[in-house]
């Protein structure tokens, strides 16, 4: 080990954006055949570090060394040529190009005439995908036609197939539910002697994969130790600068069986939604589990009329007619917190307060004229419930971290006087502190008689937060778990499609 230089050495790099310090004097080394975890809350500088290493951003000061020699990538390609590959968090795929072309960007093979031979490219791509255990993606399809999960796989394969010396994985499981696939690939790369920097929020992943972990806070390295030596509490404290264990306070169920169901769906069918029925009681948190692409996204969207159904009824408490549009849904007190926060959650050019107050903006104005004091007051009522610090309100929401953006989105849902929340993976890409706030908010919401339909890629969230949990497979409900039956193992086995017969048993 000591004889050969480390694959990567980061020596005191710093990066500023205007007045903002994204990285301050960060140093660490990464050896061949090693996975090093990179932990930190959103805004800690992880992504900036990744971008710097990938040649997207240039550090203001400090130096990088690749296998002992100085490493100063001019751009992405230069980095790639020197054997550094990255799977980005915000997937770097072009939706209007085919899977094959995307796989080989930026320099797909050309023939003697300098032309790109699509056919050959697609065959190659298919081979590569198969070699990485991805069979369901058609190499000729346009990326725009893939599910989020498929795209993430593609992103990962693209980073891996060039056999990089240094592999950077930024939140690779954000949209991925069968993580083993990834872990196997990581294993193979290690066997080949690659070094891997693994960025994730998910501690269990870090523990499972990484021998060592670097922790950033506010752009500075605060910890660099073998994972085994650190307790969860220690890790979180050093991440957040305060002690927050991801603890799920076992609150008594708030389900109100007496009242009529807050939301009941019967025999919903449509493209990608097969005969789905369930009832959501007031005060209940009903979980939805499933590997990606099992119809959960369409189910959630269809519930607020964003996705057309062929047949079925959706009944909302206190609202006779069928919900056909998000507008009608909102009127009926049903609000969706969508998957794509950046494009469907926040209004990026608006201030945080404007983002939150939007549903109530008409109440906040007389004869259409805005009354900013009133707006402020209305918003003040909800931001407490989501722990959104007040001093963020006048700032552009784009300037907030993912966690705080999500809080604002949830605050907006409360603003809309929602009686029934549809939360689609609300804790994705959200730091630990924010997660806690979100859990608390959910509890409080159902405590107050609201109802929540809750999909998450993180099983423990489902297991600990939900009163019941539906498991989707192949666009239909294959099981409903509750009480003792509601365990990660159960959920997984059902979600994986095994034991469809057992579904019936645990059903009721």
């Amino acid at each position: 080990m000591s004889s050969t230089p480390p694959v990567l050495e980061v020596r005191g790099i710093s990066k500023h954006y205007g007045a903002t310090v994204a990285l301050r004097d960060v140093s660490f080394v990464l050896n061949a055949g090693e996975v090093c975890g990179l932990l930190g809350e959103n805004g800690a500088g992880k992504s900036t570090l990744v971008k710097t290493l990938s040649g997207v951003e240039v550090p203001d000061s400090g130096a990088l060394f690749l296998a002992g020699s100085e490493y100063r990538p001019r751009d992405r390609n230069d980095a790639r040529r020197q054997g550094v590959a990255t799977a980005f968090q915000e997937l770097s795929l072009v939706s209007t190009l085919s899977v094959a072309v995307n796989l080989f960007l930026p320099d797909p093979a050309v023939n003697r005439a300098g032309l790109v031979a699509m056919r050959r490219l697609e065959q190659q791509a298919a081979r590569i995908l198969a070699a990485h255990g991805v069979s369901e993606i058609d190499s000729a399809a346009l990326v725009g036609e893939l599910t989020l999960g498929q795209r993430q796989r593609l992103e990962i394969v693209r980073a891996m197939f060039r056999r990089p010396r240094l592999l950077l994985l930024d939140e690779p499981t954000a949209a991925l539910s069968d993580r083993d696939w990834l872990f196997d690939l990581v294993g193979n790369r290690l066997a080949e002697g690659a070094a891997i920097l693994y960025i994730s929020h998910k501690l269990d992943e870090i523990r499972r994969l990484c021998r060592r972990s670097v922790i950033l806070r506010n752009g500075q390295k605060v910890l660099d130790r073998p994972v085994a030596e650190m307790s969860d509490d220690e890790i979180f404290r050093s991440m957040a600068g305060r002690s927050v264990v991801e603890r799920f306070v076992a609150a008594p169920s708030a389900v109100r069986t007496d009242a009529q169901p807050a939301l009941s769906a019967s025999r919903l069918s449509g493209d990608g939604v097969e005969d789905i029925s369930f009832t959501l009681m007031a005060g209940e948190i009903l979980g939805v589990a499933g590997l990606e692409g099992q119809g959960q996204a369409r189910l959630f969207r269809s519930l607020v009329g964003l996705y057309p159904l062929r047949s079925g009824r959706i009944e909302v408490a206190g609202c006779g007619r069928m919900v056909r549009s998000p507008r009608a849904a909102r009127a009926a007190g049903v609000v969706l917190v969508p998957e794509e926060r950046k494009t469907e959650g926040i209004f990026k050019d608006l201030t945080t307060i404007a983002n939150v107050s939007l549903p109530a903006i008409d109440h906040a104005s007389k004869l259409h004229f805005l009354n900013r004091r009133r707006e402020r007051a209305l918003v003040g009522e909800v931001i407490g419930d989501v722990d959104l610090p007040e001093h963020f309100l006048p700032l552009s929401i784009a300037a907030l971290s993912g966690g705080n953006q999500q809080k604002a989105v949830l605050g907006r849902a409360l603003m809309a006087r929602a009686r029934c929340l549809l939360l689609f993976d609300p804790t994705r890409g959200v730091d630990v502190g924010a997660k806690q706030s979100i859990y608390r908010m959910m509890r409080a919401f159902v405590g107050g008689g609201g109802a929540i339909l809750f999909y998450s890629t993180e099983l423990d969230e489902l297991v600990h937060l939900c009163d019941r949990c539906l498991v989707l497979y192949g666009n239909r409900i294959v099981g409903e778990l509750q009480g003792p039956a509601l365990s990660q193992e159960q959920v997984l086995s059902l979600a994986a499609g095994h034991g469809l017969e057992r579904a019936a048993v645990s059903g009721r």
Partner: protein, 332 residues
Amino acid sequence: MAPRDTSTLAEPMARGRAPRVNPELLPAAVVLACAVLLIVASTLLNAGSSFVPQLDAVLVTSIFLVVASFGQGLTILLGGIDLSIGVVVGLAAIMVSTLTNGSNAAILWVVPATLGFAAFIGLVNGLGVALARVPPFIMTLASGISFYGVGLAFTTGLAQRPVAPGLVALMNARVAGVPIPVVILLGFVIVATIFQNGTSDGRKLYALGSSPGAARVLGLPIAALTILVYTLSGLCAGISGILLAGYSSAATIDIGDPLLLPTIAAVVIGGARVVGGRGIYLGTFAGALFLSALETIITVLNLSQGVRNIIEGAIIVFALLLQSERWRVARG
């Protein structure tokens, strides 16, 4: 624009200072200052002249652009555009002169009728964009071309009629030494600004322009807002056309053509973003004044048209450069 994960840099900056004034006022102010500078410059260039009458001239001759570009600004706020403005201005001017045919009494019904027609064209655009999902650029281009044809059909072989003297007087008279158009102009600017930045509808427009996806999920009345905006744009063009007819007391169908591109330029110079979600009307107003002042100074320069064009083009590019610099700073 610069690809950068805002979340990484945001928090530290976020702590502490919160902008009290709307940050978009800055560019508006800068452009406005440039406009005033231009007027001062042309005052200095011409011995016999003084500031106030120059300002008068600029304001009066800018009103058509100022009014029309409000509509343009709204469509651009939604990430759209209105290319039918030039045509609508022309049609409105023709219509108001043909129908009043010199009679003040007619104004009472002709002006509403004309505005109605202009708004109708806007409505057609809005329906096309909002319901038929035709890209705004194409919808408004197409409707512009088509309605121009309608205008031709309407005017071919038709000898021109005089504009009602009432309108002419309106555009040429003064109250307390201030030209009435200037009064109209200021009134319009105030109303427009309040609508865009002081009402809940304005707020919704910003939201929709900023993130259509989120607006959809939240259930904002997207179609209604879009239709509203394009209708307003048509209406503004109509007003502009009527004022233009009154001002020049003689309307031709192509009278509005020279206005189309300036409306876009005014909006963008004023600090708006073509993809939507940003920009305030004061900026657009400043941009319009800037262009008008630029016209003035170039008109009074004793140059060949070729040189005039080169200077004008260069200055427009320069004005945009100022904008972009501001963005770099503002966006961290």
